[in-house]
């Protein structure tokens, strides 16, 4: 790019999908905090929702997908998914349509949040495109259902490489491949093989392997064992939520999806219909996800400042939302962060 960018050139456009339930409230918090921090971005909002799904039409309108492809950056709140029936998950559709092949979720013990688990500092890197999420299921005969898990060498290698690159760039010491190759000999076996092979190219990063159930057990009893974890799709889903639980829950943990040219920050918690519209939601997860996105945009100073403000407010503990045992409203908590800026 050119050497001296003019202020308008520097104004990135980011696509914002507020989402369902508490989505609009927590998105509002992100907009307010970013505005207060004078982050040089402008928003382009797309209202995607389960409610807007029309049978027979694309689940996600192509205008929204094109916008994210064009601008390269997006943030999204939670989108509701029907269980056991109905249309495919919109979250999943987005990831697949945009080729967001890796999901990154850091979970670190947060000062000021008391849990039973200390010294947690793990980043889960989840292969995001295949595995159990390919949506290939059928009823063989009445009462017998088969569901396919698909593992490919190319996607596994890409995921593994991403994990090692991530470890190197973020000065992490160790990558652990989490798998169930004792039972899924071919599928997880191939994933594990790819991790092993990739590990050889990164002698500076220590490589370990762990069975998924052992990893889950040890995350509870000895979380220091783990640093960066690389996992297949469903395993990544499960382990990342478990890790989030160890540090205070989904309301607190950031998540970023990465593709070849696209970044989508998202809160991984649900739509929380029980508290939607009541100004009670905790916007931290979406805020910290947005901070991760800023780092991808090389806006490190803004990212650091906002992150510091968030963690300071949490540590002080005076303006916490209900899910963290506090009494503050979403807007009050947001205000407190802005005051810190």
């Amino acid at each position: 790019s050119s050497s001296v960018a003019s202020p308008t050139d520097a104004l990135h456009t980011v696509v914002l999908i507020p989402g369902d339930g508490i989505g609009p409230e927590i998105s509002e918090a992100v907009k307010k905090v970013f505005a207060a921090a004078r982050v040089p971005i402008q928003w382009e909002e797309h209202l995607i929702s389960t409610k807007n799904v029309v049978p027979g039409q694309d689940l996600i309108p192509s205008t929204a997908l094109d916008a994210i492809r064009r601008h390269g950056y997006g943030i999204k709140g939670p989108l509701e998914t029907p269980i056991g029936k109905g249309h495919k998950s919109l979250n999943l559709t987005l990831r697949q349509a945009l080729g967001l092949y890796a999901n990154v979720r850091p979970c670190r013990t947060v000062p000021g949040i008391r849990t039973k688990f200390d010294h947690v500092d793990v980043v889960t890197i989840r292969e995001n495109t295949e595995g159990e999420y390919v949506g290939l299921e059928h009823e063989v005969v009445p009462g017998v259902v088969e569901s396919l898990k698909v593992i490919t060498r190319s996607a596994s290698e890409r995921g593994a490489r991403f994990a090692f690159e991530f470890a190197r760039q973020n000065k992490r010491r160790r990558v652990t491949a989490v798998h169930k190759a004792s039972v899924l000999k071919l599928s997880d076996g191939m994933f594990l093989e790819c991790c092993r092979r990739t590990a050889k190219e990164y002698p500076d990063i220590e490589f370990r392997e762990a069975l998924i159930e052992l990893c889950c057990g040890y995350l509870i009893s000895q979380p220091q064992r783990y640093d960066v974890l690389v996992l297949t799709n469903l395993a990544g889903d499960i382990v990342s939520d478990l890790a989030a639980g160890l540090v205070g829950g989904l309301g607190l943990t950031a998540s970023l999806n990465k593709g070849e040219h696209t970044v989508l920050a998202e809160a991984v918690h649900g739509t929380a219909p029980d508290i939607a519209g009541k100004d009670l939601a905790n916007p931290t997860a979406l805020l910290l996800s947005a901070v991760m996105m800023l780092r991808e945009m090389n806006l490190h100073d803004h990212a650091d400042r906002i992150e510091r403000a968030i963690y300071t407010v949490i540590k002080e503990g005076k303006n916490l939302t209900g899910d963290l045992g506090g009494k503050a409203r979403c807007s009050e908590y947001t205000r407190a962060i802005i005051d810190k800026l």
């Binding site: 056991g84 688990f117 299921e137 169930k180 039972v183 469903l234 889903d237 478990l242």
Partner: protein, 345 residues
């Protein structure tokens, strides 16, 4: 737990498969404790020299005869292409329900107080079908099978378990928002069975949310009904929260027999042969078996002695932060049994 088939008073023959890794050490401990308690059972031990070659027919015959197995773990190496002994036993004898109980042991420091969770895991199908193939080089497909028959059967077991053990709630764990057909069927079957038990609360929970909820609020859970692989993962989470893998027992129940073992089945290769494994889970699995056989007095007696050791001594194996060997820990239990007997006399 269903009543035993034979009348009381018979000496029960139990097929003992010590297994690999820490299995033999833990099994020795169990046999000593049962001996010291004069439990009227007799163990027939079988060693499997080459587990990768499958189940020897003598063992198949023995299991069919006794229909009761005490088992240690069998380790499955990653490269192994056959079917593991563990899976052969479960599938061969149709031991469809895996029951793991995590409960407070006085004197054991758990992550939370009052964790009391029973995991009822489908033990025969799901991701453990062993059906995998490579369509073209670099592409592997793995089949997860869910059947209505087996889903109804395990759900029925979970609710009956809850009813007979005076439990209040069953949580069905699934991922039916993504696996709409497969996990959808499992969930639907659970719902159907739940409707027959209106006095037991029923809820469903997505597997990732379950893990998160369990580490932050394990007291929420009572009986948890799970498909095979989720049962493996959540079982490990629950035992870890409860104080450790080496503590909690498990049973595999079928229509015509049962097999008892450590709840989370680990070979513990890292510490095998060193004589420092924790035999608690194995001994308590023996206690589970005694309850299955309706030998409640013996069961309580042994469990009380184990609890006494944790509550009133600091004798612990290394996994529990102590320095005792398996033998020393076992001796402590036997000593407690003698104390209890002396008090009664």
């Amino acid at each position: 737990v269903y009543p035993s088939a034979t009348s009381l008073g018979d000496t029960k023959l139990i097929t003992l498969l010590p297994g690999e890794g820490i299995g033999p050490e833990c099994m020795d401990s169990l046999v000593s404790v049962f001996g010291a308690a004069n439990v009227p059972v007799e163990f027939e031990a079988y060693h499997i020299p080459e587990p990768e070659k499958g189940l020897p027919s003598a063992i198949v015959d023995a299991v069919n005869r006794n229909r009761l197995v005490m088992k240690g773990p069998f380790h499955t190496p990653y490269g192994f292409q056959g079917t593991s002994i563990n899976i052969l036993l479960r599938r061969g004898f149709d031991l469809f329900a895996n029951v793991v109980h995590v409960f407070p042991i006085p004197g054991v420091k758990a992550k939370y107080d009052n964790i009391d969770i029973v995991l009822v895991r489908e033990n025969t199908e799901g991701e453990y079908s062993g059906l995998e193939h490579s369509a073209v080089d670099g592409v592997v497909e793995s089949l997860k099978i869910v059947t209505e028959e087996h889903s109804l059967r395990i759900a029925e077991y979970a609710f009956r378990y809850a009813m007979r053990n005076n439990r209040k709630k069953v949580t069905c764990v699934h991922k039916a928002n993504i696996l709409k057909s497969a996990d959808g069927l499992f969930l639907e079957c659970a719902r159907q069975v739940a409707s027959k038990y209106p006095f037991i609360e029923f809820e469903s929970m997505i597997v990732d949310a379950t893990c998160m909820r369990m580490v932050s609020q394990p007291q929420h859970f009572d009986v948890v009904l799970l498909p095979n692989l989720y049962g493996n993962i959540v079982g490990s989470v629950a035992t870890s929260l409860g104080g450790g893998t080496g503590l909690f027992p498990g049973a595999n129940i079928g229509p015509s027999g049962a097999m008892f073992e450590q709840g989370v089945r680990h070979a513990g290769k890292g510490i095998a042969g060193k004589g420092i494994a924790n035999p608690t889970a194995t001994i308590l699995a023996g206690v589970m078996m005694l309850r299955y056989l309706k030998m409640f007095d013996f069961a309580d007696f042994i469990q009380d002695a184990v609890t006494e050791v944790y509550e009133n001594t600091d004798i612990r194996t290394p996994d529990m932060g102590g320095r005792a060997t398996t033998k020393e820990f076992t001796a402590a239990i036997i000593e407690k049994m003698e104390e209890i007997m002396a008090e009664l006399a």
